[in-house]
Amino acid sequence: MSLGALFVRDVRLAWSAGGGGPVGVIFYLAVSAVAPFALGPDLPLLARLGPALLWIAVLLALLLGLERLFQSDQEDGTLDQLRLGGAPLELVVIVKAAAHWTAAALPLIVATPLAAILLNLDGATLALTLVTFLLGTPALALIGSIGAAVAVSLRRAGVLIAILVLPLSIPVLIFAVAAIEAAGAGRAVLPPLALLGALALVSAVVAPIAAAAALREID
């Protein structure tokens, strides 16, 4: 077994032809580019709504690639071989979730300064938004892996995965936006950030166990 090889393979697959990597980034930038047209050229309003809009866009962009997270491997027999590699299935899930984060979430974080210009965010707000992304998106990727594993043998499972994953993702959204709002209102930023980090840690423990249990049920 070589977990590093699996990680590299998954990231490369996501960004090779037919992978979901570029689609998520384009979706994310499209949402943040369209928002100013919908809301009108009210700069203070854009700045106030901006971080929340970015978080919604990230949440939905990360859902796009989830359907294929385990399904593409299940369809072509790769998952059987992954189960026979000698590595515990929980580790396989962690590595695949990490690869999903690297291929899908990291490019969104890199693209965020560009989106921030479109939404008139100032430097401090942008920096804090990036911090909440860094803490929150790993939790989203891990929670998403549960939904992807549960729906692995279903066709056209994208919407079902969204329904499964979105309610579990709401706490991440709440504490991330709460941290940014607290900074704007002059309140302490650390408590919501700490809760956001706690969510990431809890999902790092729970998600691999839950997703691996779901994957073992396939036959």
Binding site: M1, S2, A5, L6, R9, R12, L13, S16, A17, G18, G19, E75, D76, G77, T78, D80, Q81, L82, R83, L84, G85, G86, E217, D219
Partner: protein, 202 residues
């Protein structure tokens, strides 16, 4: 001596009992062909032994094996586990690193591809392979990491005559080294003295 012992194995699929009290033993250096009509449970038997399908009752015992089940089995199923986006060599190199202990180098991958006659296509994207060539790429996994038990589900489907002969030689070589082969097949395995386990519809 290593052996695989299956006793009173029962497996259900979708409320239907597919395997009902199947018992047999495969000893080291022996090959066993699992035969029977379509839908009789040949693939299910192989998947159950590999631990990919849950069993209702009965036991699958690996006697005198020094590694755990997942590290002792090569499984070649109907699906080839080939990623069309990657080249032949990249597909092979990934499985070599995943199934082996990580110490195998490029020479192992090249030797395995050479055995199945795909070395000259190493740089080609796997999406351009024919069905038989994809099958040979899947069979190349058997050469990449030494594992004692080969579970093969219709391994020669889509192979031409020359490739079948090559594959029979691969199996003979594996058996001579003390390996075990359990193959679901509708055709002769091409190995002298192979046992046969005939599954009958229940």
């Amino acid at each position: 001596m290593k052996s695989l012992q299956v006793a009173e194995l029962c497996v259900d699929r979708g409320e239907r009992r597919v395997l009902d009290r199947v018992s047999f033993t495969v000893a080291a250096g022996r090959a066993c062909a699992v035969t029977g009509p379509n839908g009789v449970g040949k693939s299910t038997l192989l998947r159950a032994i590999a631990g990919l399908t849950g069993i209702e009752s009965g036991t699958v015992t690996f006697l005198n094996w020094d590694s755990e089940r997942a590290g002792a089995i090569h499984f070649v199923g109907h699906l080839d586990a080939v990623k069309p986006q990657f080249s032949v060599a990249e597909n092979a190199a990934f499985w070599c690193r995943w199934l082996g202990d990580g110490s195998a180098g490029e020479s192992v991958v090249e030797a395995a591809l050479d055995t199945v006659g795909l070395l000259h296509l190493a740089e080609m994207p796997a999406q351009f392979l024919s069905q038989g060539q994809r099958r040979r790429l899947a069979l190349a996994r058997l050469r990449m990491a030494p594992r004692p038990l080969w579970l093969l589900d219709e391994p020669t489907a889509g192979l031409d005559t020359a490739s079948r002969a090559t594959f029979a030689a691969m199996m003979a070589n594996h058996l001579a080294g003390g390996g075990l082969v359990l193959a679901a097949t509708h055709e002769p395995l091409g190995i002298d003295g192979a046992d046969e386990l005939r599954l009958a519809p229940s």
